[in-house]
């Protein structure tokens, strides 16, 4: 691997996977973790791939997910180029076009590696099912997606400096000019693709699960799924936290009560989980489980608020946050096994303010000693 490849991988691919480690873990859990055994997971995916190979509709659903992922990588690449610290990428324009393109092909291959891996599985299943032509068609689609992503990224590199000029338009809908409005705008404006992916997965999983026939409906499984889906939002919680403490850090000089900050965050997370609140309403309508519904819709925002509050306890990187996340998930799953499901929102309700109020004023970003002004 050449120096240029290494530089690109270290500066783009590494941060991409680190920044999205939580999302990958969440997706991995959804795709492989909720089945009772590894063999069941394999069987499920075999059936998925078979569906992709035989049904156009199934293929279109899968293709939409792959395209969302490709768009996500493009947006990440673009956001890197918009930072002045990535100005060195602009120097790539100095090397011949062919070499530049090949460098980007390799980088995109690393970024889209999860797609390529799935494409390999598709080939395997296609051979096994004697649907080689369909398999080639689908793999070609993945290849074209690679190519298109590379072309877009190539174009960005070519216009790298222009990307640092005037940024996109401001959202047209009006939000309050306060912390609540700013964080919500940050979620919709800067995390739109993440929001879309998390919402599609979370909403569809809960919506369909809760419509299981009453005779076979398993409440504990729904809690497990619900808690996992809520924890899946933690990527956004992590980013919201860093948005507040880095880009909006001047708010710490403003006379805002800690309790108001906490309420603003609770309001943001309540709005963020509105689709889940709607998806779960069958609990109320079809299954007549009003109390379960109430505990669930209360648990969601308080759990996210608890995660946000925990981020103030020390300056955590994503890896450390993931460990913490796992711990919180285990605790909540443990309590969901009890009959007293009111305990789950109660934990969030009690511990979020306590942790927030104890750690908010002590929080400080770890910084390099050099350059202290």
């Amino acid at each position: 691997m050449g120096t240029r490849d290494k530089t690109l991988n270290h500066s783009i691919a590494g941060p991409f996977y680190r920044q999205h480690a939580g999302a990958f873990l969440f997706l991995f859990f959804i795709l492989f973790g909720i089945q009772p055994s590894f063999n069941d997971a394999l069987r499920t995916h075999y059936a998925f791939i078979n569906g992709i190979l035989t049904s156009l509709n199934f293929f279109l659903v899968a293709f939409s997910c792959w395209m969302l992922y490709a768009i996500k990588t493009i947006i990440f690449f673009k956001s890197c180029l918009q930072k002045e610290s990535y100005d060195f990428l602009y120097d790539l324009n100095a090397i011949p076009q062919g070499k530049r393109f090949m460098l980007l092909v390799k980088l995109i291959a690393v970024l889209l590696a999860p797609l390529s891996c799935y494409a390999l599985f598709i080939i395997g299943v296609a051979i096994n099912e004697h649907r080689v032509l369909n398999g080639i068609g689908i793999v070609s689609t993945v290849f074209i997606l690679h190519l298109l992503t590379t072309i877009v990224v190539y174009y960005f590199i070519k216009n790298a400096k222009a990307l640092q000029q005037v940024t996109g338009t401001v959202l047209s809908f009006a939000l309050p000019k306060n912390l609540f409005g700013f964080v919500l705008k940050f979620v919709f404006y800067r995390q739109f693709i993440t929001l879309l992916i998390v919402k599609i997965i979370s909403f569809s999983c809960l919506y369909f699960f809760v419509r299981t026939e009453a005779s076979v409906f398993e409440e504990r499984m729904l809690w497990l799924l619900f808690l996992t889906m809520v924890i899946g939002h933690s990527v956004m919680v992590f980013r919201n936290f860093h948005f507040l403490e880095e880009e909006l850090s001047f708010y710490r000089n403003l006379p805002i009560r800690s309790f108001s900050i906490l309420l603003s965050l609770l309001a943001v997370y309540t709005i963020l989980l509105l689709p889940e609140t709607w998806a779960l309403r069958a609990l109320l309508v079809n299954l007549d489980k009003a109390s379960e519904y109430l505990w669930m819709i209360l648990t969601g925002p308080f759990l996210l608020l608890l995660l946000h509050s925990l981020l103030y306890t020390e300056d955590m990187k994503m890896e450390e946050f993931l460990k913490l996340l796992f711990g919180v998930w285990v605790v909540f799953v443990f309590f969901s096994l009890s009959r007293n499901h009111w305990l789950l929102p109660a934990i969030g309700f009690v511990f979020s303010p306590v942790i927030f109020l104890m750690s908010y004023n002590k929080y400080e970003k770890n910084m390099d000693v050099e350059g202290l002004g």
């Binding site: 959202l171 000019k177 700013f182 940050f186 001047f250 006379p255 929080y363 002004g373």
Partner: protein, 212 residues
């Protein structure tokens, strides 16, 4: 009056500064120091942006720890290198600061006019130059009814006309009883800001350089 007692600040094992007592009567103070001496850190600490050991009292009764809201209502800050969310407009940010600092639209318009801030505030801050960001930060620092305004390198990135306008604004606000702590690498001794005292931050200690 601003009173700093038992102040100690360090980042991990790196000691930045410490001093037992600093009493600043109302006035205009110039805080000098080499790069990395901790000027911005001290300013941020007084602004309530960073945690520290010790206590800061405003007018002998308002504690930064016990009455954080009342304290922040009276102490404004402008950063050396302001950072704002690139998708928010200057107007949105100024409006937010105005609402929490009890400022008025008329006051905002007056300061905008004095600092020579034109219509660009309706654009997202991502499109601003460093000078424009600095002016926005200064605008926010003058909003409300503060007792103290902390200006970290206020003249950096400003053009000559804006520097003069800022000096004029500082003089005007001093006349209204507002106190200032200003850090600057630039030699602002020659400017006509009526400094009460000049302090130098060196080797983690605060030295009074001159009493004017």
């Amino acid at each position: 009056m601003l009173q700093l007692t038992g102040i100690h600040k360090s980042f991990g094992s790196h000691h930045v500064f410490s001093f037992d007592q600093l009493r600043l009567e109302n006035g205009v103070y110039w805080l000098k120091g080499a790069n990395g001496s901790g000027k911005s850190t001290l300013i941020k600490l007084v602004a309530g942006l960073l945690p520290f050991k010790g206590e800061i009292l405003l007018n002998e009764e308002i504690s930064i720890r016990q009455q954080p809201v009342a304290y922040r209502l009276l102490v404004n800050h402008s950063a050396a290198e302001p950072i704002y969310p690139s998708f928010l407009t200057g107007d949105e940010l100024a409006s937010f600061v105005c609402s929490v600092k009890n400022g008025t639209i008329q006051q905002v318009e007056e300061i905008k006019s004095l600092l020579g801030i034109t219509s660009y505030l309706s654009n997202p801050t991502g499109s601003y130059s460093s000078g424009m960001l600095k002016k926005l930060s200064l605008l926010c620092a003058f909003i409300g009814q503060p007792s103290w305004i902390l200006l970290d390198e206020p003249f950096t990135t400003l053009d000559h006309a804006s520097q003069s306008a800022l000096c004029k604004l500082i003089r005007e606000k001093t006349g209204q009883g507002i106190s200032f702590i200003i850090t600057s690498h630039h030699d602002i001794e020659t400017s006509d800001i009526p400094f009460t005292k000049i302090f130098t931050l060196e080797d983690g200690q605060l030295h009074e350089t001159i009493d004017r």
